[in-house]
């Protein structure tokens, strides 16, 4: 079944049409990549899908429900986790506090024990869960550093942990490897695969690095100037002349 479906979405900023009749559907358990040149509207599509900004026309369905008008926090509670193109974490908090806050937020709406209301310390089970997640992603060495002072790669990872702390059904990643070193990129790619395989999380991602896209993605959608150029499996996309044109053959040769 399609876990996430977008139907004929339009999005304008004033007179600028950023998305024109975009449709897509993401089967559960797959890794779905949205690619396209800068300014194609990928981030805007993410905003529409996650509820950050409303669309002008069209519908978004999440797990069979029409969520077009649902606010962001509602979609998050229903199981949609996301990261931002420029990592956003809680700068005044330490790494551990970031993760604890995220876990407490989830436990609150899932009505799981989140510790006493007046307790200054987070509950033991919350702390255990946080330490587990942080160790998993390899941030244990910086666990008490203030998020403000983290390196770029660690910030990205921290944002990843925060999104995972939601135990999402779908994880929306906007350029998860942007600005990272090649080694870090591979690490993130492995992580994405692991998340999908071990936790059964569906992944929707945008990415400029074609190596990573072709390695991870089950399905790829190509967006250009807000219009769908092509959509299909890796082989379809690689051989598609329209896609070659969008990319001027440049990135495709690398692949």
């Amino acid at each position: 079944m399609d876990i996430l479906r977008v139907e004929e979405v339009d999005k304008n900023y004033g007179a600028l049409e950023v998305l024109k009749q975009v449709s897509l559907s993401v089967p559960a358990g797959c890794i779905f990549a949205i690619i396209g040149p800068n300014g194609a509207g990928k981030t805007t599509l993410f905003k529409v899908m996650t509820g950050e900004s409303p669309c002008n026309a069209g519908n978004v369905f999440f797990q069979g429900e029409n969520v077009t008008r649902a606010p962001a926090h509602w979609r998050a509670r229903a199981g949609m986790g996301r990261t931002f193109q420029v990592a956003r974490v809680f700068n005044d908090f330490s790494v551990l506090e970031n993760v604890v806050a995220a876990i407490e937020a989830r436990r609150r709406y899932q009505h799981q024990p989140a510790g006493r209301f007046w307790a200054v310390e987070p509950a033991r089970e919350v702390l255990a869960e946080a330490h587990q997640l942080i160790a998993d992603i390899g941030l244990a060495t910086v666990i008490s550093h203030a998020a403000r002072f983290l390196s770029h790669g660690d910030r990205k990872r921290l944002e990843f942990v925060i999104a995972l702390a939601l135990k999402p059904r779908v994880l929306m990643l906007d350029e998860p490897t942007a600005g990272m070193s090649p080694a870090d990129r591979l690490g993130i790619a492995d992580l994405i695969l692991r998340i999908r395989d071990q936790m059964g999380v569906t992944v929707v991602m945008t990415e400029h690095d074609m190596d990573i896209v072709f390695r991870l993605a089950d399905r790829i959608m190509v967006l250009s100037y807000g219009e769908t150029v092509a959509c299909g499996g890796v082989a379809d996309i690689k051989g598609n002349p329209a896609v070659q044109e969008v990319y001027l053959g440049k990135e495709m040769n690398h692949a």
Binding site: Y13, G14, T50, E52, P71, A72, H73, A76, R77, G81, R82, F84, R88, V89, F90, N91, D92, F93, S94, L96, E97, V100, A101, A102, E104, A105, R106, R108, Y109, A114, G115, R116, F117, W118, A119, V120, E121, P122, S144, H145, A146, R148, F149, I162, A163, A165, L166
Partner: protein, 646 residues
């Protein structure tokens, strides 16, 4: 009947145009800087005073009158230049709330300055000769001067539309709205353009002040009503939009005109009702602009709110000493000092309640005195007229009352553009509270409640009639409340508030219902402020309308900023420091507004993290210094374990 109707519409138009002349400047500055200039009303008033001094009790010809108004506009434009260079341009890159607070402080300074220069008396000025006689059309007498105001408003509107659609102003606004940084690259001199536009907006305020001088009598309160109505007009019309401001202003004029006809004994109330209804059904205004929520930086902070544990035991001993010292006061201090100390304790709690909203949730209230007054009047009336109600129950009632009011205001304000709407609606709340009190006989109207008796705690056998006894009760109650708040704000509720302050969007994507969290925080804040008011009433034994003035609303802001908004204890520290300052300078009456405003401005510009922030910076420098002396024993600054060692 028909004449009455025409007359009402005519009055509505002239009032609407008067509002528009102020609203135009506000909406212009909002369109450019994404801030509400809280000082616009004060500069309008200064324009009026300048014109008053220039006219000097003569009756001028029309041309000379217009010339005087233009001069007043120029004078205020120069003040605008100063304001921009000294204040606004320095705050362009920090959280917009600091800019809001700075203009609020500037308003206080202006009011104080006007009182010093021109005194507090009312003056009135005749319209120019040609406009003095009414115009007769059939049986209808219309004031020529009002016609002149309407015409002036229309002319200003046309000039603004041309400037925006045909001249540089519009281009500047557009490029700033989309991307200030890019427009810098594109060769538009943003800083110069902004300064010029700010001067233009100030010029409008001064000009309006001069033109409308004969419309009403002149006093230092003149700007307040116009500021509020100007805010309402641009909220109704759509922020940052000149045509919306015009329509919004006229609508307000109509509402007010109907109010005087249909509800003559409650003047000025209908506008608030209409605003509330309007906000409920159409929060985006008549002409929603593309202008989005100003960037809430939330970056101001330091991780310090989460606690500085390095010297915990030392701090606990220090805290205990402070409480013991405070408790010993009645034994050795004189009555005056004791009174100041008791008030400082109450104001500390009040400031803390404000900071729950600002420091923890990232929202600023500019009418917090409304909650304080609600608590104070509620308690005052009950103690005076129903002394049999147990006092603790009364305080509980204050908390509930404050929370309910906060919930209602929050329901209107916290849906869209939360920061801006809350700023305006809290000011409106203070104003409407003041109006309602001044219309209510049992609240003492303009005279306030006097002779409020001190309570008895019957079932504990305490009589709190003496100052010392009530002071001890006050101290105990505040210590208890602060302790409870400490626990609540340092636990998971505190973390929830802090993540919504730091990045509301990120928090929403963690499943946090940001609007609900903000409303909860506002309710808590309102409840605590009302309890502070409730504790204050029997201490001062008198509550008056002064408790709902702008000055009273500035008090918690100042105390919190002075102590440091990024610290739980900051507001209390600030309240004590301010009390000491005030006690030391109590002989200079009349300076209070200037002092409060200037101090607040100084803090925002020079030390936005307050005294506690300065202390922390100093302490961390000292630590780093020690670390460089003994490099091996230390860990990196950020490596200090934040959670475990609490």
């Amino acid at each position: 009947m028909a004449t009455q109707l025409i007359f009402a519409i005519f009055n509505a138009l002239s009032m609407g145009m008067a509002i528009f002349m102020v609203a135009a400047g506000i909406t212009l500055i909002f369109g450019l800087l994404k801030i509400l200039n809280m000082a616009q009303g004060a500069f309008f008033m200064i324009g009026a005073y300048i014109a008053f001094s220039l006219i000097d009790h003569q009756q001028l010809s029309l041309l000379a009158f217009i010339g005087v108004a233009l001069l007043a506009g120029l004078g205020v434009a120069v003040l605008g230049l100063l304001t921009d260079r000294l204040i606004l341009s320095r705050l362009r890159h920090v959280d917009y709330h600091y800019m809001l607070i700075a203009t609020f402080a500037l308003m206080m300074v202006c009011q104080g300055a006007v009182k010093l220069i021109w005194g507090v008396n009312f003056f009135s000025v005749m319209p120019p000769l040609v406009l003095d006689q009414p115009l007769q059309i059939g049986t209808l007498f219309l004031s020529r001067y009002s016609l002149f105001v309407i015409a002036a408003g229309l002319v200003i509107y046309v000039i603004l539309e041309v400037a925006i659609h045909r001249l540089w102003l519009g281009k500047l606004m557009q490029s700033l709205a989309s991307n200030p940084w890019m427009s810098g690259l594109l060769g538009i001199n943003v800083s110069l353009g902004l300064t010029f536009s700010v001067m233009f907006a100030f010029f409008l305020a001064g000009l309006a002040g001069g033109l409308m001088l004969p419309l009403q009598s002149l006093s230092p309160q003149l700007g307040d009503a116009y500021l509020l109505y100007g805010f309402f007009a641009i909220i109704i019309g759509g922020l940052g939009n000149v045509r919306g401001a015009l329509l919004g202003s006229i609508l307000l004029g109509l509402v007010n005109s109907l109010n005087t006809i249909l509800l003559p004994e409650w003047p000025g109330i209908a506008i608030y009702v209409v605003l509330a209804v309007f906000l409920f059904f159409r929060p985006e205004g008549l002409f929603p602009s593309l202008a989005s929520q100003p960037q809430s930086a939330g970056e101001q902070g330091s991780s310090a709110m989460v606690g500085n544990k390095a010297h915990r035991p030392a701090w606990m001993v220090a805290g205990a000493l402070v409480v013991v010292l405070a408790a010993s006061l009645p034994l050795w201090a004189n009555g005056g000092l004791l009174y100041v100390a008791g008030s400082a304790i109450v104001y500390g709690l009040f400031a803390l309640s404000w900071n729950i909203l600002f420091g923890y949730t990232g929202l600023a209230s500019f009418g917090h005195s409304a909650f304080f007054a609600i608590g104070a009047y509620f308690t005052g009336v009950l103690l005076r007229d129903w002394p049999q109600v147990p006092f603790l129950l009364v305080l509980l009632g204050c908390a509930v009352f404050g929370a309910v009011v906060a919930c209602l205001v929050g329901a209107l304000a916290l849906r869209r553009l939360a920061g801006i709407f809350l700023a305006v609606l809290t000011i409106a709340l203070a104003e409407v509270t003041r109006l309602l009190i001044s219309y209510s006989d049992f609240l003492g109207r303009e005279d306030g409640l006097v002779g409020i008796p001190r309570p008895k705690l019957a079932w504990l056998g305490f009589d709190l009639d003496s100052s010392a006894a009530y002071y001890w009760f006050l101290l105990a109650a505040v210590v208890l409340l602060v302790a409870v708040l400490w626990w609540v704000l340092h636990g998971r509720f505190g973390r929830l508030l802090l993540i919504t302050r730091q990045d509301p969007e990120r928090a929403a994507f963690l499943g946090v219902n940001v609007t609900r969290v903000r409303t909860a925080s506002f309710m808590l804040s309102g409840a605590v402020a009302a309890v502070a008011g409730g504790l204050y009433a029997p201490w001062a034994r008198i509550v008056t309308l002064e408790q709902v003035s702008f000055l009273a609303s500035t008090q918690p802001v100042l105390n919190a900023m002075l102590g440091g908004v990024h610290s739980f204890w900051g507001p209390m520290v600030g309240a004590v420091i301010f009390a000491v300052l005030e006690y030391g300078t109590r002989t200079f009456v009349g300076l209070s507004e200037i002092m409060v405003g200037a101090l607040l401005l100084l803090i925002i510009l020079a030390a936005p993290n307050g005294v506690v922030g300065l202390w922390r910076a100093w302490a961390s420098r000292a630590r780093t210094y020690r670390a460089t002396q003994r490099p091996r024993e230390t860990e990196p600054e950020s490596g200090e374990p934040l959670r475990e060692s609490r």
